[in-house]
Symmetry: C3
């Protein structure tokens, strides 16, 4: 009997672990909406995507622009921007203080430009991910064009 | 005995639930392939991505261009387009009738333009997601350039 | 007794299967970093993204540029590029030898261009996915601009 009960208890514990992971959802999607161009600023500046589309797990802060990983795992991040052509545009996806990927466009006679990038990252609990706008650059922050999204692919 | 059997039955039910969720796969990837430019049209028009790359779960209709969520959950959508520079281009990701994200480019002397956007959405079962092309705009619908993809990140 | 034990054994096997799938993580994120432009080459050439951001499951080779699916399943791939405007740019996402999606830009007076695309693919174990750069085209391979990422959405 002890044998069966021990095995059953092990099953129950593993099921609880699986159900916990199954229930852990982390996903956000945000827009920078400032009624027109955002920037240029004198120095590199965190782009605060201030308009939430989704924030499952509340790991993204629409007041600071920073996503903080609530659990260790593999995450995917995607950013897209629209910009007027009369200024440089440059956005950088940052993990803690490390540059992960960048997307940019040079000033031109072209009336507008689009750009974006994506990355998959292994994060520890508490790691912070956010987007910096390079000094002297700007993006179009209106009409739901400039977005930043991320989600947990696998919990560790 | 009843005690052990009750616990075992609870385990079996939880496992069935986990296995059901594990088996629920929803993912599609599609292209607009019309042998050249698509549009411009007089009014906003759903862009029917008519060429399937994948349609796991059959939730996307290649005849209407509409994705219908088969289960409640968190989904990710990504769209990319190529367009000739001689017209405006504008695509809008719509949930039911709500604008989620847009991507656009102005008419220019540039021979071509690229754009795209992505969003993570919480959907109820039956919610519909699709892409609208704004009146008077067009995209390049050839050579597997203009795509729309989505997948279930987490079932609720 | 036999009955309970058989049911318990079935539970244990299903849990092991679920835990195995839960532990199978496949996700990579890579950059093409060659200190400047990459290409043009005389023929179509695999773009070897030589700088790893993540390679969970070691399924991407930074020496060949090829991702090989370690398990059957649904995968998502995203590519983004930056390119100087003075040459054509064209990248093609390939599954085995089949073109899945492309992204390109024409030579122009524009100083730079961005592009990208994404696809969800059903892969068998051993299927290979990689990016080809079309003959006579080039991309900017510096400053963490040109990336290729992928991850397992669902194991089959």
């Amino acid at each position: 009997m002890a044998c069966l009960e021990d095995r059953l208890k092990a099953c129950e514990e593993k099921i609880a672990d699986l159900m916990g992971k199954e229930k852990t959802m982390v996903a956000f999607s945000t827009l920078a909406e400032y009624g027109g161009a955002r920037g240029p600023f004198d120095g590199d500046t965190t782009l605060v995507y201030n308009t939430l589309i989704a924030n499952v797990g509340d790991a993204y802060s629409a007041s600071t622009g920073v996503f903080t990983a609530p659990v260790a795992g593999v995450y995917c991040f995607i950013l897209s921007y629209h910009a007027g052509g009369d200024h440089n545009a440059k956005l950088m996806l940052i993990k803690n203080s490390e540059l992960i990927v960048a997307t940019s466009d040079h000033k031109s006679n072209e009336p507008s430009d689009n750009g974006g990038n994506a990355a998959v990252l292994e994060l520890k609990k508490g790691d912070q991910v956010y987007v910096r706008m390079a000094a002297g650059t700007r993006v179009w922050a209106d009409g739901r064009h400039t977005s930043f999204s991320g989600f947990l692919v696998n919990q560790k």
